[in-house]
Symmetry: C2
Subunit: 212 residues, 2 copies
Amino acid sequence: MLAIHLRRSRLSRVVGAKKSELERRSDILAAAKLVALDGGLETVTARTVAAEADLSSGLVYFYYQTKNGLLHALLARLLETTLDGPEDGFGEDLPADVALHEMITTELEGLHTQRDEVDLLFQFYFFRRSIDFRDQIDTGLRLYTDAIHPVTDRFAREHDLDPDAFRSTLVALIQGAAIDVVRRPESFSAANLLQVVAALATSTPRHSEDAI
Amino acid sequence: MLAIHLRRSRLSRVVGAKKSELERRSDILAAAKLVALDGGLETVTARTVAAEADLSSGLVYFYYQTKNGLLHALLARLLETTLDGPEDGFGEDLPADVALHEMITTELEGLHTQRDEVDLLFQFYFFRRSIDFRDQIDTGLRLYTDAIHPVTDRFAREHDLDPDAFRSTLVALIQGAAIDVVRRPESFSAANLLQVVAALATSTPRHSEDAI
């Protein structure tokens, strides 16, 4: 019996340990997110997160050595899940107008379902200037901008708009919509925004006006 | 001599005291702003602000009884100076397109010169969820939206756009531009944004298309 007990325990330790490390990290970050949403980023500590995840503080320290390490890991996860942007080659088979419209629709509707995550991203950005969360977020935003590049460039070319200016404007609009989602979720309407952008963007483009 | 001295001192106490209260409050808020810009809102305390203003902590407590009182007063001042919006009757004498263009120009260029203030406003919005800075800012934004109402409504009517949807879109764009000003001041260009908005907004409106 003793041998069996030992073998089982060793087995569960070995098998469990591999699965457990990923799961534990995931549990800890999920708990950190809840703590942050509940009381703000400044309340995220090994102690509060451990209590939320029903683990020991020691385990939280074991995986994320410092409070900042934990916050950076939480931010990295938020960036992965919220600032992913369209996939490679998105909309290539569609007309430029349609591709742009679909992309903006996806982005704006995505904001709505990820309100908590968007709120936290902004909290990170405007939290304690001394810590370099801003660099991490700016990198995420640069990747995002790269992802929307092909779609916005095609549209801009067809409408005689400066591609960089157009992309910046669109990113500004999406950022501003993100704030609205946090600020007044009950009145935010992706459809409204989209309707205005579409109405403006599908009016006769300038180069065809010139051609008349 | 004694009588004269007494009279002078009483005079300066009376005259000086009236002037001094406003000035002191102004000095304290200016110092609080510097402390917040330097180390973040969480470093604003009676002690740090008193040191920055070269006053005693007691005097800071005298004017602003609590840390939150001080922060709310700082926020109120920021809202007054940054979210003022166009004046009553702005652009009434101009065509709707021109009025909108002038208004957006003023707003976007204003953001650039008020980068620090905009940064602090966002810090307030995303700082400690438990305290009601958000309500104070939302009130400011509602007043701002009221101020741009007449200009956006006229433009929307002429372009067959839903007025509320158009106004929301414009506020989102300005909010997003505000984030860009904080995030990458070196590459933010009000002119670029304006060029895109103007190019889209001055294309043939939909109702004249329908008329063709």
